[in-house]
Symmetry: C2
Subunit: 380 residues, 2 copies
Amino acid sequence: MASVTPWEAKGNIDYDRLIQEFGTQPLDKTLQARLIRIAGEDHHFLRRDIFFSHRDMKWLLDEYEKGNKFFLYTGRAPSGPIHLGHLLPWLFTKWLQDKFHVRLLFQFTDEEKFLFKEGLTLTEAKHWLEDNMLDVAAIGFDPELTDFLIDTKHAGMMYPEAIKVAKRVTFSTAKAVFGMTNQTNLGAIFYTAMQAVPAFLPSIYANKKIPCFIPHGIDQDPHFRVTRDVLPKIGFDKPAAIHCRFLPGLGGMESDGKMSASDASTAIFTTDDQKTVKRKIMKYAFSGGQATTEEHRKAGGNPDVDVAYQWLTFFEEDDHKLKRYYEDYKSGKLLTGELKQILVDKINAFLKEHQARREQLKGKLDRFIIKDEAAFERYQ
Amino acid sequence: MASVTPWEAKGNIDYDRLIQEFGTQPLDKTLQARLIRIAGEDHHFLRRDIFFSHRDMKWLLDEYEKGNKFFLYTGRAPSGPIHLGHLLPWLFTKWLQDKFHVRLLFQFTDEEKFLFKEGLTLTEAKHWLEDNMLDVAAIGFDPELTDFLIDTKHAGMMYPEAIKVAKRVTFSTAKAVFGMTNQTNLGAIFYTAMQAVPAFLPSIYANKKIPCFIPHGIDQDPHFRVTRDVLPKIGFDKPAAIHCRFLPGLGGMESDGKMSASDASTAIFTTDDQKTVKRKIMKYAFSGGQATTEEHRKAGGNPDVDVAYQWLTFFEEDDHKLKRYYEDYKSGKLLTGELKQILVDKINAFLKEHQARREQLKGKLDRFIIKDEAAFERYQ
């Protein structure tokens, strides 16, 4: 049985069922085509249904075409190193920023994991905040269009807004949406109000409703369901959202669930060196191949369960290449080791550039971090 | 049946039973005498048991005599005008500040009533914040030793500390201590963590444990019970506290409960003019006298239920005068109208000075309001 909450995603996930359960909309071909038309460019995350679900995107694009630009909002709860799975919504967010030339408000919820994980200290969270900000900046967001909002640092702006949300959400709702119990702590109970704030903070300072568009992993939807429920009650529009599938851990979705930083053998981190990437993929990536080369040549592999192939659907932009890998693996022409090497090369090429940008950005994050309320004047 | 919670105090309150129920300590004569000895002066709030209960005052005075000065912490939730009942703990706080020459951290919980009262807007709360700050400053606190901490304004300093408290308090505890239910909103649930913060905020910046002493109405004890439970778990000492009785409303404790701003006929506000004070006391103060002058002269009055007399125990510092009023009223020598006039004169003399200070302070509150973290360096 698959389980998807803001804290866990495990099992073979039936994404159609998730759309039904969460009450989101499937990202159908018409809407996809419209997004691509306005963007002026296609994206393999779209045509491969990696972004597969949404809320209110039709409204968002209507507003955009009327000249009412949206801003992007996404985020990260610092509690460990960044792995490839974390990057998916951010890579797509960068593409949206580039194509639509819109601002991005990136929230670092540096209190979230402190409140939800017994063992994590605020000092550790602060360490990971610094580390994670580097990775986010290294995605290549435009510093002129990007603002980092940090919950503990910017609480002065956020708490007075969060209470407006919090007043409109009962413990009953928190129980139903997040599975909270009598043993949940008061900070964890309140937290969802802090995650709602970026969706309307620019509207507060602009003194007009600015549409908000949130690319995120589908597991965060419960938070934004609360946000969407409350915002119209306090004078703002519901934010629109676009949801992506999970990158499976190296052991595959059924065994590992979505990629998780807590098990180093299932995740590839942005700071892993080329050898480590190769070793992890060669050793741990669940294979759809046969037990011996002979058998594989004869019977062929199963790309649909092969993690190396699955990952290539996320990281190989070229449809022709991907199709060839699929067919060659299925026919037995491509061996598991060869398919894995293709993935290793792809990931290492990506990480080489990412790590170079990461190094360059050390000590240079200040220009991303919000200084004061004036930052929001640029959202109008 | 008397009911005492942070939101209500009604009925004939049995203060001994409250000590038992809340688990506080009676302020016995030995401790009272020690406080008076160190202060170098007596206070009628002490010798009349208006401050009747405490937590950890022995420890606090031990520390003080070892040279480890405490700071005072008290507060106010702005949601309406200030009445005489609000002033009691503040008047005593001023006396403590003067006698012990210690800093006062005064918290304005300007989000509290917004979160707990359905109808109150943040704009109204802000209006009352400005108004109430004037009254607090008009008490005569030393501006050099007093800092106003405002929850929404200083959330940047407070929220990162509040989450440390919030992590250690479960919803179970909030249910047991505050009677919270599934219908309570998330902000109200979190709120007690914000009220805990001033008790250790100076210790954070001083990087050492500074004893904290909280004079307050006994009804706020549930909040500080939570604070005292959590602080040792996050590296701080439990704050000490001293608790005062309630000033009854004009109709008396049984009918009105403690003085409340929500019924103008039971309260005298700091901004009431001399005529209004006289009218309210003459018209509404519950009388322990007889129906006619003749009967009163013969049978005498009952000062123990007479509100004018009760109030004089709070506002007439002179024991001899008070004793005379008691005896003369009981004997029938003093009529109800005469006793009320004595009270009117006393209150009006007090308010005349208070209102003059209040006027003088208009536009001059900035020196009380905390500018930045540097304020806390003065607490060491």
